[in-house]
Amino acid sequence: MQQEVILAMLAKEPTHGYELRARLRLALGPVGEELNAGQVYVTLTRLEKAGLVASETTPGVSERPDRKVYGLTPEGQQRVAAWLTEVSWPKPDLTEFHLKLTAAFAARLADPIAIIDAQRRELLRRLRDAQRAALTEPDVSDAALLLEGIVLRLQADLRWLEACERTWTTRRNTR
């Protein structure tokens, strides 16, 4: 997970590590299930070393251990502000698949349609998983919105595969 995400989640108010994890879980729903606790603490430690986060230890009450409260330093606040205005968007990685089809066809190594079919099977399995998770999520949850994004992206990829199939079928038949 990106360090800036953890930073931004501290922007509202300083908080304990476990509260931070709870916020993440709420926003991610089933998507965040495999997010491990260690990762969050490792990131917090790194951020602290980098001077973006400062921590304060609250003394434990009776049997409870000491707990660290993490908050943003002024540098951390600046980083968050900069990150929020940055335009970043993950690149859809289509080039590799596109070139795979081109190369397979040119060298007569494999049938591009068979490659497309295999890819479609995998994407549909992913769509099934994402959709099942989306259908069980209450409409108003933050995680439902994230899952919808995953579903829409997979649909877009599947539509592109349809276009690939049309083109490569024609090319194969006119070879």
């Binding site: 997970m1 991610l28 089933p30 998507v31 965040g32 299930e33 495999e34 997010l35 491990n36 990762q39 993950p90 079919d117 479609r120 099977r121 995998e122 549909l124 399995r125 992913r126 769509l127 099934r128 998983d129 994402a130 959709q131 099942r132 998770a133 259908l135 994230l146 899952l147 994004g149 995953i150 579903v151 997979l154 649909q155 599947l158 539509r159 349809e162 049309r166």
Partner: protein, 243 residues
């Protein structure tokens, strides 16, 4: 286990000579009880024709179709009509509701045609509308319902006679994305309740609710895959969450 529905070397052609179209070309299919099978393919690949043959709306030129041990091809017109009414539920892209009947009247109609007592038919129809989330729309005419609601009425109607199998032809084809989601939920619920379903579609979302997906091209099955059993990646990976 013997499949609930099976097709062997089923063929249907239109036209002749150079204009001969093999709409369905020697197709074999087995559908187990409780299974959801989706058939996908470009328009004109023969998937709707196949669905019509499976449900007895049309007869194949050759090949055999068996539903619950009965050979559909051996049935006469009356036997075929009875099978369509009692053993098969149909859902179409354009809903095909009777415009002059209310939602509940549409849903109870197949039961009345099958000779069920009117009170029992009405009770069942109201139950089904409740199950499809339309209890408060029972007295509405189709014209007063949204597309998604109309399709849910059509699904309720398909279930009126407790069919062995529901056949759906492009059930989300006329729906926007919110209404599609309602229909997806409904089909998912039917699947969980053990209803056997065959869906032909080119909507990947509804296809992804299936246990098994078949790809059809030029009248023949060219690819088949099981969608259950998990994927290589996790949801977190799909969302770009590295772990």
């Amino acid at each position: 286990m013997t499949p609930l529905l099976s097709a062997r070397a089923v063929r249907k052609t239109y036209g002749r000579g150079v204009a001969l179209v093999r709409a369905v070309d020697e197709v074999d299919l087995d559908v187990a009880t409780g299974e959801t099978v989706a058939i996908m393919g470009p328009s004109g690949c023969g998937k709707s024709t196949l669905l019509h043959l499976l449900g007895g709306l049309d007869r194949p030129d050759s090949g055999q179709i068996t539903l619950a041990g009965k050979q559909v091809s051996r049935l006469g017109e009356r036997g075929l009509a009875r099978m369509r009414r009692s053993a098969v539920g149909f859902v179409f892209q354009a809903f095909h509701l009777m415009d002059e009947l209310t939602a509940v009247e549409n849903v109870e109609l197949p039961a009345l045609l099958a000779g069920r007592p009117p009170r029992a038919a009405r009770r069942r129809a109201l139950e089904l509308l409740d199950r499809t989330g339309l209890a408060d729309r029972a007295r509405f005419l189709p014209s007063a319902l949204s597309g998604g609601q109309r399709q849910r009425v059509a699904v309720a109607r398909a279930l009126a006679n407790e069919p062995l199998i529901v056949l759906a032809d492009e059930p989300t084809g006329n729906l926007d994305s919110a209404a599609t989601l309602d229909v997806l939920r409904l089909f998912d619920g039917l699947h969980d309740a053990g209803q056997t379903l065959v869906i032909v579609t080119h909507d990947s979302r509804i296809a992804a609710t299936a246990d098994r997906l078949i790809t059809m091209r030029d009248g023949a099955f060219v690819d088949e895959t099981r969608l259950t059993g998990g994927t290589a990646g996790s949801l977190g990976k799909l969302a770009g969450l590295e772990s």
